[in-house]
Amino acid sequence: MSMLKISGLHVGYGNIEVLHGLNIEVNEGELVTIIGPNGAGKSTLLKTISGQLAPISGTIEFEGKPIQGMPPHKIVQMGISQCPEGRKLFSRSTVSENLLIGAYIRNNKAEAKVDSEKYMARFPVLGARRNQPAGTLSGGEQQMLATSRAMMSHPKIVLLDEPSMGLAPQLVKEIFKMIREIKKDGGTILLVEQNAAMALKIADRAYVLETGQISLEGKARDLLHNDSVRKSYLGEETSETKLP
């Protein structure tokens, strides 16, 4: 049984439909990526899964239970955590406060504290700025913090919306390294990316989302060698996009 199963999902804003009947599955322990151009509806999809938008029709099942239309805080409590596009940190709160807020739904605050220390040790730049307001961090630091914050609730699945957006190549590598670590620790990930080359290299499976429809799906490795994907999304590979 798949952990997350989306069937016939239609979503819109007002009376403009943006997603036209998506079918997507994510199995436990999998890293699934969704790639596609600007405006395809990738963020709309993640917002619907996390409960910020209610679908027009279709179902979203998580561990066999329908969750579509549930309020976001309930969905987080079920084990779905989203790191939103543009990071959306609590900019006046400090780095360490942001991490602790990520564990809001957990009861054991002492354990959460230990976890937050773990992330600040994993990313020494965050540790060094633990008492600094999150709004004063650089873009790369903010992304590390936002991704760590999303993990602080111990989610069963984490939804990442363009974690590499606007980052220098070195930082993109750093973020992707973190995503692979989450997977290695047994995490399940749904990764939305415009950096298709990087995403396809680390993912197990992939979907290509174009103007609200899945135009292609399959093993990430296969898509990496698919002609139309190569033409539309990979272009010429540069040395920066190679994994370390």
Partner: protein, 291 residues
């Protein structure tokens, strides 16, 4: 000396009332950047309910309880039906629906209680503490102490508890707060409730101190509370509280040394001077950069 202490006690008591009403505004503004224009009428309603129950049951504690609960519940209802549906609209829209809610509450109160002015519903023994040759009224001090305790409790809740953590998140980013698992709607509802509870304590003290309960008290207290909130830096709870006390003291000493006819003039002069000097209020630097 005696005279000075008497004015000090007068100022502290009146200032505490202003402070409580003002903190009611500030709690809500600090968390939501919303001015609850129905605040005055919400605590006025609560004060009337306090009066009605105290008069009927002769039990002032039950009256206080009912007053507090009614105010809190009314604020939550106003939030639910007047503010939540227009939360994402232009800020003028909730302002207008707030005035609408305020008018409805006022009219209901007029229907229930008429436009008369009522005395405080219980007899208050005039207790004094004698310190040497000086007499200080107990209930003046009690008003100040209760206000101080309420203010400390609020500060503790906001700074040290999980609830406070959630309020802080909601004040910064509602979408992110939801994604952290915070029930944003219930937090907002609670914030309005808290503002009203603090406000109605101010309202009941107002009734006690001036021995009067009337429809216009919402507006009257609101004028002073509003001044205190703005002078203190609206949204900053400690600043608002201090500004309320200062306002009370300035009025008391101003009335004593200049003339009581100039009391309101003095309070407005204080606002103007402070705002020229510090446009965000005495303690209001943090909220100026609100995104």
């Amino acid at each position: 000396m005696n005279f000075f202490l008497q004015q000090l006690a007068n100022g502290l008591a009146a200032g505490s009332i202003y402070a409580l009403i003002a903190v009611g505004y500030s709690v809500i503004y600090g968390a939501l950047q919303m001015v609850n224009f129905a605040h005055g009428n919400i605590y006025m309603f609560g004060t009337f309910m306090f009066m009605a129950v105290t008069t009927a049951t002769k039990n002032i504690f039950l009256g206080v309880l009912v007053g507090v609960v009614c105010s809190g519940a009314l604020a939550m209802a106003v939030e639910r039906f007047a503010y939540r549906p227009v939360r994402k609209a232009n800020y003028l829209v909730p302002m207008i629906s707030a005035f609408g809610a305020a008018l409805i509450i006022q009219n209901i109160c007029q229907l229930l209680f008429s436009t008369r002015t009522f005395p405080f519903p219980a007899s208050v023994p005039n207790l004094f503490i004698d310190i040497g040759s000086i007499r200080i009224s107990v209930y003046q001090l009690a008003i100040f102490v209760v206000a101080l305790i309420i203010m400390l409790v609020i500060t503790f809740l906001l700074k040290r508890t999980r609830l406070g953590q959630a309020v802080n998140c909601v004040s910064q980013n509602k979408v992110s707060s939801e994604l952290m698992g915070i029930n944003v709607n219930s937090i907002i509802s609670l914030i309005y409730c808290a503002g009203a509870v603090v406000g109605v304590v101010g309202g009941m003290f107002f009734a006690l101190y001036y021995n009067s309960i009337f429809i216009g008290m919402g507006f009257l207290g609101t004028m002073k509370g509003w001044i205190a909130a703005v002078v203190g830096g609206i949204g900053n709870i400690k600043g608002t509280f201090i500004a309320g006390i200062i306002l009370g003291l300035v009025e008391a000493f101003g009335s004593a040394f200049i003339s009581s006819a100039y009391r309101d003039v003095i309070s407005y002069a204080v606002v103007i001077i402070v705002l020229i000097w510090k446009p965000n209020g005495l303690f209001g630097s943090q909220i100026a950069e609100k995104a």
